[in-house]
């Protein structure tokens, strides 16, 4: 028989591994979402760079496809997944509030041009990513801060090719970040 100190150590080991399993599963789900958003954002930026007159339509499509993908991910995710069981309407509300506040900032309080919009939305999105990371894991913080820094570098240094820069920084960054999440 073991003493209470050894028993406490064994229970601490159990708690530690349970936390790691939960973290791993959260990263698995989050990585799918990040890769999906990365793909649609890459496409949106590419359309903005190649055919600027269609940029508005492209970004509406990006937002609709992005949110629809997340909803589908929640619904199609295997039910045994503890983070994926069922659809939570709060997820939809989060996006409604997110886009409403973004619209208020960019179109009502300020009148942002295409370049400012191209920088604002990724930084705004990544702010939530980084904040979520304080609770859910350092990978979110690293991806959020990394994409924000590269967006700002592009905003201040890249000329007309800024949308192309953002296709790789924002779209590519989310795809690479999502794949990285699966490996940690």
């Amino acid at each position: 028989m073991i003493d209470s100190k050894e028993a406490s150590a064994a229970l601490a080991d159990i708690d530690d591994i349970v936390q790691r399993v939960k973290q791993s599963q959260l990263y698995e789900l989050a990585s799918l979402a990040a890769v999906w958003w990365g793909i649609v954002v890459f496409a949106g930026n590419l359309v903005t760079w190649l055919w600027p007159i269609y940029a508005v339509y492209a970004w509406v499509a990006v937002d609709v496809l992005g949110v629809a993908g997340l909803v589908a991910l929640r619904l199609l995710n295997p039910p045994h997944h503890p983070h994926g069981a069922g659809f939570d309407v709060r997820l939809l509300l989060v996006f409604v509030l997110f886009f409403a506040f973004g619209y208020l900032c960019t179109n009502v309080l300020g009148h942002f041009g295409p370049r400012q919009l191209g920088a604002f939305w990724p930084i705004y999105f990544m702010l939530f990513y980084a904040l979520a990371g304080l609770w859910f894991g350092y990978a979110f913080v690293a991806i959020g801060l990394g994409i924000t820094a590269l967006t700002l570098i592009g905003f201040f240094t890249i000329g007309e090719a800024f949308p192309l820069w953002m296709a790789f920084v924002n779209g590519g960054g989310l795809i690479v970040g999502g794949l990285w999440m699966r490996r940690i």
Partner: protein, 99 residues
């Protein structure tokens, strides 16, 4: 008076069972994921999984995903029960009900 489960009590087997038990019933973990979570080597992990499988505490499924072999380990109902009893015994020891 409950006894500690000797099979589960070994540190690496305890980690394996804790990881599998954290999943919903019938969900399993791939060998590579389990290796990363427990920090064990291939040989060590394989040996302890075999011990748990012989005791009927885990089931091991081997399949091919594309051309890559994939081993998935899942806690059985007996394994989950044994793990729950083991944890309850540990808690009793801490509470001073057993010495």
């Amino acid at each position: 008076m409950a006894e500690l489960d000797d099979i589960i009590h070994q540190p690496l087997r305890l980690k394996i069972m804790a990881a599998l038990n954290a999943l919903p019933v019938s969900a399993g973990l791939e060998f590579s994921r389990l290796k990363k979570l427990t920090g064990a080597t291939d040989g060590n992990l394989g040996a302890h999984i075999e011990t748990l499988a012989k005791a009927g505490y885990v089931s091991v499924d081997k399949a091919f995903v594309g051309k890559k072999p994939q081993t998935t380990v899942t806690a059985t109902a007996a394994g989950r029960g044994a793990f729950a009893r083991h944890v309850a015994t540990l808690q009793e020891i801490i509470a001073g009900k057993q010495v």
